[in-house]
């Protein structure tokens, strides 16, 4: 049983309300930080904890905080990125819906560390009901003196505002989020300048994911060093994984990044295996943008090591044989799933969500979708597969924001690992409309190269 830091109290009756949350030891980190620590000490603790951004990129949060420019007389802002729109990821939703005060608590501590007197939660437009939950929590925190002017005599003022997005995946990109927050069209900005220098209203800004900010609470409560002892290597602390797809127990799980992928899928504590005795075909371990892996690369790395659910192990082998931790949207595909169809679904999503600002992504995503649709419906040609590869290659790395990469990676990985399934679709246009390619050899053990 892994250690739980975020969801430990998630199932306590009435934890959504302030009274129960406080009774269960909530807001202790705020007391500790505001009364006994300086802002720099808080940042230092977060640095020591090795906490990595939970939004997908995995950038060390403490380092991001220390990059924040601190010019005199210019306000600084903390923005909480709750625009969780990655297909397969729903961990922040769970966190905000069930223990909203944990996020508020983390926000107060982080705002104190960064010197933000106005902190925003930019929440995905589709999460309309969670806005009410957060507003209620903020009102309760206000009524009990955790927010407002001169909080507990510390001289620190803070107010938290919730801003709803209007339903755009791109607004989860931090600079697009800032544009949208300012009331403009949510187009990503061209970096540099980075938000740490020029963010919201051209003021220094830190944008962090919901889970990252919530994780500040146990870091302050335990101390950074204690927190860093959980997990392995540079993957410290606990991570929320939202598991879905062909598994017996879909849901949000908190793991301490030491369990293997195989255990995560098959143990009864977590996903509980694959329903109806089906076999595993493929898995996307970190949300739709990260590369898909066939079963034989999922449990063991190319070197033959057991793959663990953490940042390093999942990305072992680079994109050739590895994938990424991403935002923790764990999607499992069993043998009845068609990778071509699945890739088409993702390509359609990225075509729909491209902001249209820069040309490779605007034009390339639509093109990939159309070609994939042809292949899926049995109208594809062999040359289309190479063309797809060429298109994704020309999108990746050439766009303003990472959406172009995110659109290219799933297609690239599907072609890399499942090329024969694509070819089967092209060569068997009639049969491919009636049955699936099936598991084929995707679960066969791979030969492990001998090491000297």
């Amino acid at each position: 049983m892994g250690r739980k830091l975020l969801l430990e109290k998630a199932h306590v009756e009435g934890i959504r309300t302030y009274e129960v949350y406080r009774r269960e030891g909530g807001y202790a980190s705020v007391e500790k930080a505001l009364k006994t620590m300086s802002p720099d000490q808080v940042t230092e603790e977060v640095k020591k904890s090795g906490l990595r951004g939970r939004g997908g990129a995995g950038f060390p949060a403490g380092m991001k905080w220390s990059f924040l420019a601190k010019p005199e007389g210019v306000p600084r802002y903390l923005v909480c990125n709750a625009d969780e729109s990655e297909p397969g990821t729903f961990k922040d939703r769970y966190l905000m819906e069930f223990i909203p005060h944990l996020l508020i608590e983390g926000l107060i501590v982080a705002s104190y560390a960064l010197g933000s007197n106005r902190t925003y939660i930019y929440i995905r437009g589709e999460y309309a009901w969670i806005v009410d939950i957060l507003e209620t929590a903020i009102a309760e925190a206000n009524a009990n003196g955790w927010l407002g002017k001169n909080i507990f005599g510390s001289g620190f003022d803070l107010q938290i505002y919730v801003q709803r997005g209007a339903g755009a995946y791109i607004c989860g990109e931090e600079t697009a989020l800032i544009e949208s927050l300012e009331g403009k069209r949510g187009n990503p900005r061209i970096k540099p300048p980075f938000p740490a220098v020029k963010g919201v209203w051209d003021c220094p800004t830190v944008v962090n994911n919901v889970e990252t900010l919530a994780a500040v609470v146990p870091i302050i409560n335990l101390g950074g060093e204690e927190y860093a002892k959980i997990g392995v290597g540079k993957s410290t602390g606990t991570k929320l994984i939202s598991a879905c797809g062909n598994i017996n127990k879909p849901g949000v799980y908190e793991i301490d990044m030491t369990i293997s992928v195989e255990e995560f899928i098959y143990s009864d504590e977590y996903c509980g295996g694959i329903p109806n005795g089906k076999r595993l075909k493929a898995c996307i371990p970190g949300g739709s943008s990260v590369p898909i892996l066939p079963a034989n690369l999922l449990f063991k790395t190319a070197k033959g090591d057991t793959r663990i659910m953490n940042y390093e192990s999942l990305s072992d082998g680079g994109f050739a044989t590895g994938t990424m931790m991403g935002s923790g949207g764990f999607i499992v595909l069993d043998e009845d799933q068609c990778v071509v169809r699945h890739t088409l679904t993702l390509a359609r999503f990225y075509r729909h969500e491209s902001c249209g600002q820069c040309s490779p992504c605007r034009e390339g995503t639509g093109w990939m979708e159309k070609i994939l649709k042809n292949i899926e419906t049995g109208k594809g040609k062999m040359s289309d597969i190479d063309l797809l590869w060429d298109i994704q290659r020309k999108i990746e790395g050439n766009t303003i924001c990472p959406l172009g990469d995110a659109a290219a990676w799933p297609v690239a990985a599907a072609l890399r690992h499942f090329r024969d399934e694509f070819e089967w679709h092209v060569l068997n246009p009639v049969e491919s409309q009636q049955r699936n390619f099936g598991l084929a050899h995707y679960a066969d053990p791979r030969p492990v190269p001998a090491t000297a």
Partner: protein, 359 residues
């Protein structure tokens, strides 16, 4: 005494130049000029915030600076990346750049209608130039091209949304040149379009400049629509006393007739001085203007076809070679040859002549 300014040394395609700090790679490359300057479809030096979107100006930074000589992992948009001291940039000397640029051109042309034969921008279209320089002959795109609902922008400006490459230049122009922002971009992704009820608010005196900044034929001059091809017209510099703008324009003439008026553009196709709608659309008589002289047009431009301004004509050397003798006709082949049957009177043949007529 003026303080010595510290200049940054930057090497682009093996040519080193000293530039002021804060210069973008693109502008440094333009100072060198020629093929070293990356193409730019969306960047416009006169518009704040423009650039970074089209990705045609991507370059490879082989060394970030003297202090930190690591190369940048990704290609960067040269229009929005500032030079550092000791930076080494590869433009046309980098295969990655050429490859990426080919890709961008293909993407830009993917949904472009390629209706150049009926497009008023043809001949002065940046996308045309770009395609000739960096594009491939054929497309690999086998699907229908996107279309849009048509918007009527009134009597002066013609919008063809299908040709638009979403460079945002007109959006910045409307935003920065006019007092009231008149349009922006609606929708997103490949169905994004410039609109926002654009037709409802085009009464601004300077809105006509969106025609000049448009790199393609999406926004064209309606008063010039289908009147003439630009390469048949002679551009001349002219001016008038205008209370609203500088009044410095280029007239596009054929004979004495003024077909259209545009702002004067520099060698990068950028407007020197913005002009007002009255100068652009209303003053279409030669008598309205004081003509200064022919406009210098780049020799590369199709517009310079048939305009022999500043042309150096090679010397006729035949007489010199023949020691002062004039060439003379020795024999007219038609006088001695019957091959073409000189007796056949072409004017009496019904229809065009055929080889059968000479049998």
């Amino acid at each position: 005494m003026a303080e010595e300014k510290k200049l940054f040394k930057v090497t682009i395609d093996n040519i080193t130049i000293d530039v002021e700090p804060g210069t973008s790679i693109l502008n440094a490359a333009r100072m060198i000029g020629g093929d070293v300057a990356p193409p730019a479809m969306c960047y416009y030096s006169k518009l704040k915030g423009s650039g970074g979107k089209c990705r045609t100006c991507l370059v490879e930074v082989a060394a970030g600076s003297t202090a930190d000589p690591r190369p940048m992992p990704k290609l960067v948009a040269s229009c929005r990346t500032n030079v550092m001291d000791g930076m080494i940039v590869k433009n046309i000397t980098s295969e990655r750049v050429i490859d990426a640029r080919n890709g961008v051109v293909e993407f830009l042309l993917l949904n472009h209608p390629l209706d150049c034969p009926i497009c008023d921008q043809a001949g002065e279209c940046h996308l045309q130039d770009l395609s000739y320089d960096h594009g491939k002959e054929g497309t690999r795109y086998e699907f229908g091209r996107r279309t849009f609902e048509k918007h009527d922008l009134g009597p002066y400006i013609q919008l063809h949304m299908t040709r638009c490459i979403l460079c945002y230049r007109c959006v910045f122009t409307a935003d920065q040149l006019t007092n009231k922002r008149v349009h922006g971009v609606l929708d997103r992704g490949d169905h994004a379009e410039i609109a926002t009820y654009i037709e409802k608010s085009l009464d601004n005196d300077f809105i006509g400049n969106v025609i000049d900044v448009c790199p393609v034929g999406a926004l064209t001059d309606k008063t010039f629509r289908f009147k003439n091809r630009v390469w048949f017209l002679k551009p001349v510099d002219a001016h008038r006393d205008c209370p609203k703008c500088s009044g410095k324009v280029t007239l596009w003439n054929r004979g004495d007739e003024v077909f259209r008026v545009t702002a004067r553009k520099d060698q990068w196709g950028e407007v020197n001085d913005w002009i007002c709608n009255e100068c652009r659309f209303e003053k279409k008589a030669t008598s309205d203007w004081v003509i200064e002289g022919p406009t210098q047009v780049s020799r590369q431009s199709v517009i310079s076809q048939g305009h022999y301004v500043g042309l150096h004509k090679p010397k006729e050397t035949l007489v010199e070679v023949l020691d002062g003798q004039k060439p003379r006709l020795l024999m007219d082949i038609h006088d001695v040859s019957e091959v073409n049957k000189p007796t056949v009177d072409l004017s009496k043949i019904a229809g065009p002549a055929h080889s059968d007529d000479f049998k």
